[in-house]
């Protein structure tokens, strides 16, 4: 159990955030310890903060951070708490800064097509408001109904329609961030809040995106406004073998169709998983072993012309069009079908409530078939040893921004029956994660396309992946956060201080 903060520190927090913005009760702490990733519930107390603050302004955040520096207390930023790599999970207790109350739309700049928001706003809620003006903020992760803009920046989020509109880093024009020492700065491409491209100075915007809360707390963000799409197109094609589907995935991705939002390749294990409950897949013929899906957005005339080109390419493949109902319905359910505890099955086929774990490497197109085989072998080994894991299949999803070709967000989803954790199975699981990551690196990929790589089993490979880049990370961390306040313990960055 974390040692309670000194009363005087709590009093200082109250002086900054008001009595209604500071919590030290147990339920406030325990309910801000987790994210939806496998969580060692038996070691819950190791992960609770000592105090929670709900600030309402950048100035309050700044003062809290300065206080933390004065007292040497870690600070953990938390937005939606929906990330999958524990960015918002306290590793060393401390003060948790929860930004959910900072959820206002501050300004819509119609002339320059930006919207400025607080970090606690959710994209779906934002788009409900933007729709009245004909705008659309196209950051569309699977967690679209619940993740918050601050967390999207902190984790460098990935969007399901990124091939058309870009990902979070492309959609955030500039933002205000409280540095680990409490200064409030604005970063973007150059100086102007709505400048999209600048060559002035270091490109600091990228530095402060995806740091998992180790370099500061975003307090305001200026976002792109796209025109609300007139039209949507989605099409699913079935294949009897993976390689035929792999070929069509590549062909569609390289088509150059500008309205193309993304192409997805589902493998045989993923189809088997979908057959467990998805009404579209249950009646599909046994011969369906892989599926390719694509989706487009934009002006109706452009979507139509682009879709015809995509369909011409698909007609030349071995695939069969799966019909409008599955093509549309399954696309519309893209946020909802990814994490379902009831889909867990023990070896004898019984339903068990399993957590969804997803490894999300970025893999080059040419390497997908080999990686697929190796990853399933790792999962299979795990399942044979412990009747608490379940292979929920793989998919590969176009990973580029504003273009579909190149590398793929590649996921293997593994169900984990978490109430069965033992030290042995946890260790085996961490080893398996590390093996999965190692395969990704061996094939020229990255440990992660969107979730981040802070957790046990993957974080140890970050220095391997980044090489000299990791040394630079440590230098930056030490320079910006001399007291190691911000999200202490994440990303092996404690090493930056050990070497002093």
């Amino acid at each position: 159990m974390a040692i309670a903060l000194e009363g005087s520190v709590v009093d200082e927090l109250i002086a900054i955030c008001g009595p209604e913005g500071v919590f030290t009760g147990r339920s406030a702490l325990f309910n801000r310890a987790r994210v939806p990733a496998p969580f060692p519930a038996h070691r819950w107390e190791d992960h609770i903060p000592q105090a929670v603050v709900l600030p309402t302004s950048a100035e309050q955040v700044s003062e809290v951070v300065k206080l933390a520096n004065r007292h040497g207390i870690p600070v953990v930023p938390r937005a939606g708490g929906t990330g999958l790599t524990d960015g918002a999970v306290p590793l060393n207790h401390g003060i948790l800064v929860d930004v959910k109350l900072m959820n206002r739309i501050i300004e819509i700049d119609h002339g320059n097509r930006t919207v400025t928001v607080g970090p606690g706003i959710n994209m779906l809620k934002l788009n409900e408001e933007l729709r009245r003006h004909g705008y659309f903020y196209p950051d569309d992760p699977a967690s679209y109904p619940c993740s918050l803009v601050g967390g999207r920046i902190g984790t460098s989020g990935w969007s399901l329609i990124g091939a058309r509109y870009g990902h979070t880093r492309d959609l955030v024009v500039s933002f205000e961030i409280v540095l680990p020492t409490g200064e409030i700065i604005r970063v973007g491409d150059g100086g102007g809040r709505s400048t999209r491209k600048s060559s002035s100075g270091f490109q600091l915007k990228h530095l402060f995106i995806g740091h998992q809360g180790t370099l500061g707390i975003v307090t305001e963000a200026t976002l792109e406004l796209a025109p609300r799409p007139e039209a949507e197109f989605s099409a699913f094609f079935s294949f009897s073998d993976y390689m035929g589907a792999h070929r069509l995935t590549g062909d569609l991705s390289r088509s150059g169709v500008a309205t193309l939002g993304g192409v997805v390749l589902f493998d045989e294990m993923k189809i088997a998983y979908l057959r467990r409950d998805d009404e579209a897949y249950i009646p599909q013929d046994e011969s369906v072993r892989a599926v390719v899906a694509c989706a487009s957005y934009g002006n109706a005339d452009e979507v139509r012309a682009g879709a015809k080109r995509l369909l011409r390419i698909a007609r030349a493949s071995d695939g069969s069009y799966m019909g409008d109902e599955i093509s549309q319905g399954d696309w519309w359910s893209r946020h909802d079908r990814y994490a379902t505890p009831q889909h867990g099955r023990t070896r004898d086929g019984q339903v068990a409530l399993m957590s969804w774990h997803c490894e999300d490497a970025a893999i080059p197109y040419t390497e997908l078939p080999a990686v697929r085989e190796k990853w399933h072998a790792i999962a299979s080994d795990l399942i044979q040893r412990f009747d608490m894991f379940d292979d929920w299949g793989m998919f590969a999803y176009t990973n580029g921004a504003h273009k579909a070709w190149g590398d793929y967000l590649t996921e293997i989803d593994i169900g984990i029956w978490e109430s069965r954790w033992t030290d042995e199975s946890w260790a085996a699981w961490v080893d398996a994660k590390r093996e999965i990551g190692r395969v990704a690196l061996e094939h020229g990929g990255s440990l992660t396309a969107c979730h981040g790589s802070c957790r046990a089993g993957e974080v140890d490979l970050v220095p391997v992946e980044l090489g000299g880049g990791f040394e630079v990370m440590k230098k930056i961390k030490r320079a910006l956060d001399p007291n190691n306040i911000m999200n202490r313990g994440k990303y092996l960055l404690d090493q930056a201080y050990e070497e002093e």
Binding site: A28, N31, E45, L124, A339, T340, P341, V351
Partner: protein, 413 residues
């Protein structure tokens, strides 16, 4: 009051309340179904969360607490106040992919309302009371109906039919109109409108000999023994007067009866429970009811949570509003309204009036965004209390759908 002594409750070494085995047996899997997925799609549709933004009040927290309590991390004392922060609107459990996408397939859906009810009941059992809810329950038990007129104005079974003065309605019979608490005492124009409309439809009906509260708010706030007394009294009253069919203008009554009464009574199948809304919509459809007086206004409709989210009833009220002559109906679709609420549900307003006020204020503000709209029509008397209060402050008149329809049918409301 269903208090137990300290020796009867389950406690940890420090005398703080823990979860009994039968509670865990019943709710563990439901809690893990949420804990294991952790989507949190519930957060942004939750009306309380939209106001407080405090993770203690998320539906996810209500489930995670069960897991944490089983592991000994939290006690009932730690969380009892958190569980007050819920209107039981049902948005969370409906929007949850574990309900919406797999609840039917597995015949296992997310049940947050039930967990909140169970936790509140356990708190009451363990002597952990919310001050106003306790007073509310005591007066409900004493008077037979909830103290909706304030702590001192009696809402007794003897006065519950006062709303029907001059309508000359019989007692009992095959069909009764079920009008209790908020509708009967606080907004009598609702049952009066319904009574006149039912007559115009040619439906013969009476009133209960002595109408008591449906018991719903007692189940919702943890006073289960009182709820049982209310339900058993009402069923006895129906049987005494030969009643088979119960027409409910208030969706809270309807959902309480269909969700809670059957488990108390093996013979429940002899009763048919009907929403007044469905009766009126059907009568308009088949021409038994004609609306002839134009209502020249521009209004929008508030989907009451128990109708829309918890029962899936959203078409009938829209059908009715479209049949009102002269009325310009600006609709906001019912799925968007999954995240709307009046803040009235499960007596949140009795215990946390400031949160209810903020929820209803936001709802009125949403109506005000619609071009030309100066009226908000609801179909739930409970919602109309906070909505009317906030509507008065923001220049938005709030009607009950039956009041509007009765006026269009030429009745004095």
């Amino acid at each position: 009051m269903s208090d137990t002594t300290a020796s009867e409750r389950e406690t940890d070494g420090n005398g703080r309340s823990t979860l009994p085995a039968e509670f865990l047996e019943r709710w563990r899997d439901v809690a893990y179904n949420c804990f294991s997925s952790g989507h949190k799609f519930c957060r942004e549709v939750c009306p309380v969360m939209q106001v407080t933004r405090d993770e203690r009040h998320t539906p996810t927290a209500f489930q995670a607490n069960v897991v944490a309590m089983e592991k000994g991390h939290l006690t009932l004392e730690d969380v009892a106040d958190d569980y007050v922060h819920c209107t039981m609107c049902g948005a969370c459990e409906l929007r949850c992919p574990n309900t919406l996408f797999t609840g039917d397939f597995y015949r296992f859906r997310q049940r947050t309302i039930d967990v909140v009810k169970a936790m509140r009941a356990l708190a009451v059992q363990n002597g952990i009371h919310q001050r106003n809810w306790k007073r509310w329950a005591e007066l409900t038990d004493r008077w037979g109906n909830e103290p909706v007129l304030g702590w001192t104005r009696e809402t007794s079974g003897a006065r519950v039919r006062a709303w029907a003065a001059g309508l000359d309605l019989p007692t009992g019979g095959e069909t009764v109109l079920f009008a209790d608490c908020e509708a009967a005492f606080k907004r009598p124009s609702v049952p009066r409108s319904v009574a006149q409309l039912l007559r115009a439809c040619g439906i013969e009906f009476g009133l209960m000999e002595q109408q008591w509260c449906c018991g719903g708010p007692m189940w919702e706030t943890g006073y289960v023994d009182i709820a049982h007394r209310m339900a058993e009294h009402n069923m006895l009253d129906w049987r005494r007067t030969g009643t088979r069919r119960i027409i409910c203008p208030d969706p809270h009554d309807y959902i309480t009866i269909v969700e809670h009464y059957p488990e108390l009574d093996d013979g429940f199948d002899e009763f048919e429970i009907v929403l007044a809304l469905d009766v009126i919509a059907e009568a308009l459809r088949d021409g038994r009811l004609k609306l002839t007086v134009p209502i020249e206004r521009t209004v929008t409709y508030h989907d009451p949570c128990r109708l829309n989210k918890r029962l899936g009833v959203w078409q009938a009220p829209r059908e009715i509003l479209r049949a009102v002559p002269g009325l310009t109906f600006v609709d906001v679709d019912h799925v968007t309204q999954w995240s709307y609420c009046s803040g009235a549900g499960s007596n949140l307003w009795v215990e946390k009036p400031e949160i209810t006020a903020q929820i209803s204020s936001r709802r009125i503000a949403k109506a005000r965004e619609l071009p030309g709209v100066d009226g908000l029509v609801s179909a739930c008397p409970w919602s109309e209390r906070p909505l009317s209060e906030q509507g008065a402050a923001q220049g938005m008149e709030v009607f009950d759908i039956f009041e509007l329809v009765a006026e269009a049918a030429g009745f004095e409301v």
